[in-house]
Amino acid sequence: MVKLILQRLLQMALIMAVVSFVLFLVFDSPKFKKQLAVNDLGGFAVATLTQSDYQAWLAAKGLNVPFYERYGNWLVGIAHGDFGRSFQKNEDVGFLLGRALVKTGILAFWVFALMIPLALVTGVFAGISEGRVQDRAITFMSVVFTSIPEIATAIILTVIFALGLGWLPAKSKGDGLEYIILPVLTLVLYDFGYVARMTRASVAEVMTSQYIRTAVLKGIPYRRVVMKHVLRNALIAPFTVIVLQLNWLLSGVVVVEVFFQYDGFGKLLLDAALFGDLYVVQAATLAAVLVAVLSQLISDIGYTFLNPRIRFS
């Protein structure tokens, strides 16, 4: 067990090193520096800039040193907790990223708090009545919900609740609870169908197994069979799926945050990428990769922990 964790952590460190190095290499291209200059000074100003002025601008931004040197400095900086400065917002990247992650974290908390019970209940309900009308209805509903992309869900919810009924604000530019209802609902509606289907498949599989048939034939009340025997075995697979949704959420929040103009992690990353704000992109990407890899690790460990058949083999 410990060996597995160490192995995975080592792999994670290797992946992070490769990713950050490639990012530095990519963002070192002249095209990117130009893009940054255009965004920083304005396209017209850059066009009239002489070569020496451009060099001076690069020097002022600290971009004239070779990328491997900057990479080294950046690594040393991270060791001291310094992620560099944002070119666009002229603020500390660590601070910017922390603030954005907190806002996205609030979003993620509500998404999981609503999605997990909803998905598990509908999934288990569909799984124990496999093949019947309820199951077919739930399965079809979940296919429909997963088919509607976040952007379309966001539009439909906005049109109904913000533009039509006027109950909620259309743009999430604020701190109150009413500002995060629509983004959270969008993400929940998209995601719950997938988790529900996974749960359904897992429950349906367990329901056909020999020990459940034995338990039913022994005369144990159906409720108890489901609660004690089915759920314990059937919820292992959904657990790993739910943890892996964290990875998906980091993709999903980009479009939702941009649509609702919610100042979270996704919007920060997109704005920084479009601006050429490389230290912000670096830090945000690394944070995303860290979350993704850690969630994979947790799901693997959790799976081995919950499933004795794997642990002891």
Partner: protein
């Protein structure tokens, strides 16, 4: 030697067309003109007036064949109907009596109203361009780039998966590590990084989709190849002295096609979502040509009023129905393969 020729089993036209080769021929007859029309519009010159004409009957025939061969599964038939609805619109867009999708005619006309003697079924957008025309032309680009990107990603992913699974050894180590690196990115972040580096365009979307989907495809194919490579027919082929490439492509790949076709249908849906979303974020296809993501992007910044909500709803519902079609197709195919 008088060997009586066995009488060919009486088969219907559809059954014969549903065989792999005729079906593939029909598919190419439909697909090549559409790709030529959308991607090489300038190069083909005057040919563009007629190039899509043979594709329309091919698509109709293909639709009939698909419905016939998947008639056992209602879900698959619904899915394939949705997909072919948009596909036929995409193919016939140049021949339909539509207004120019890029020409402003009358701003802010709500759906189902008449103005200046023209009836607007779906109204016009903020700049006065006809929504019906933009929706139909927009689906052409989404479908062509979406399917192309998925096919390219599948080609790359399947080759890498076969190499990793069949050859094994250090090939497997290298390919699997690279796949792990790419898979540790959240997909949208990988898209943003790649498209921001390459610049927004259709061809770059294909590259970005390949980078983000090929690792997952590679994993699936690798698993299937590992499972199949110890079968007898593979040993037989090895004994015959066939080359590794031939074994991988001719012996291995056709025998694992079932799960791959289901996955490909799902992936078509993901790619359609990705293209629409990326265009909405400003990283995909560029204006002024119509595109669903672009329509959403333009309307979401200018028309956030109940009266104008049709400008957002029409592209959103269009893209959802296309993706629903792909997903239902995948579901139906999976159901049928489980039944066998």
């Amino acid at each position: 030697m008088a060997v009586a020729a066995e009488p060919a089993p009486a088969r219907s036209l559809f059954a014969r067309l549903a065989q792999p080769r005729p079906a593939l021929a029909l598919l190419l007859l439909m697909w090549v003109p559409l790709v030529a029309y959308v991607m090489f519009n300038r190069q083909i010159g005057d040919l563009r007036e007629v190039v899509l004409l043979p594709a329309i009957p091919a698509a109709l025939l293909l639709y009939a064949v698909a419905v016939w061969s998947w008639r056992e599964s209602t879900i698959a038939v619904i899915g394939v109907t949705l997909v072919f609805f948009w596909l036929l619109l995409a193919l016939s867009a140049p021949y339909l009596p539509l207004l120019d999708p890029n020409k402003p005619v009358a701003p802010f006309v709500t759906p189902f109203t008449e103005k200046n003697g023209v009836f607007y079924w779906l109204g016009t957008d903020t700049r006065g361009r006809d929504m019906l025309s933009r929706t139909i032309w927009g689906c052409q680009r989404v479908i062509v780039w979406g399917i192309t990107a998925t096919v390219v990603a599948y080609f790359v992913g399947a080759m890498l998966g076969l190499i990793a699974g069949y050859l094994g050894g250090w090939w497997d180590q290298v390919v699997s590590f690279l796949a792990n690196v790419l898979l540790s990115f959240p997909v949208m972040i990988l898209f943003i990084l790649i498209l921001n580096y390459l610049g927004p365009s259709g061809f770059n979307i294909v590259i970005a989709v390949t980078f983000s989907s090929a690792p997952a495809i590679m994993r699936i194919v690798r698993g299937l190849a590992l499972d199949v490579k110890t079968r007898d027919y593979i040993f037989a082929a090895q004994t015959r002295g066939e080359s590794a490439l031939r074994i991988m492509v001719i012996e291995l790949l056709p025998n694992v096609r079932g799960p791959l076709i289901v996955d490909a249908c799902l992936r078509l849906g993901y790619t359609t979502v990705a293209i629409t979303t990326l265009t909405f974020l400003g990283l995909g296809l560029q204006p002024p040509d119509p595109d669903w993501g672009l329509m959403i992007k333009e309307a979401s910044s200018t028309a956030l009023l109940w009266k104008f909500s049709y400008m957002l709803l029409i592209p959103a519902l269009s893209v959802s129905s296309l993706i629903l079609g792909f997903n239902l197709m995948a579901d139906g195919l999976r159901e049928m393969s489980l039944r066998d």
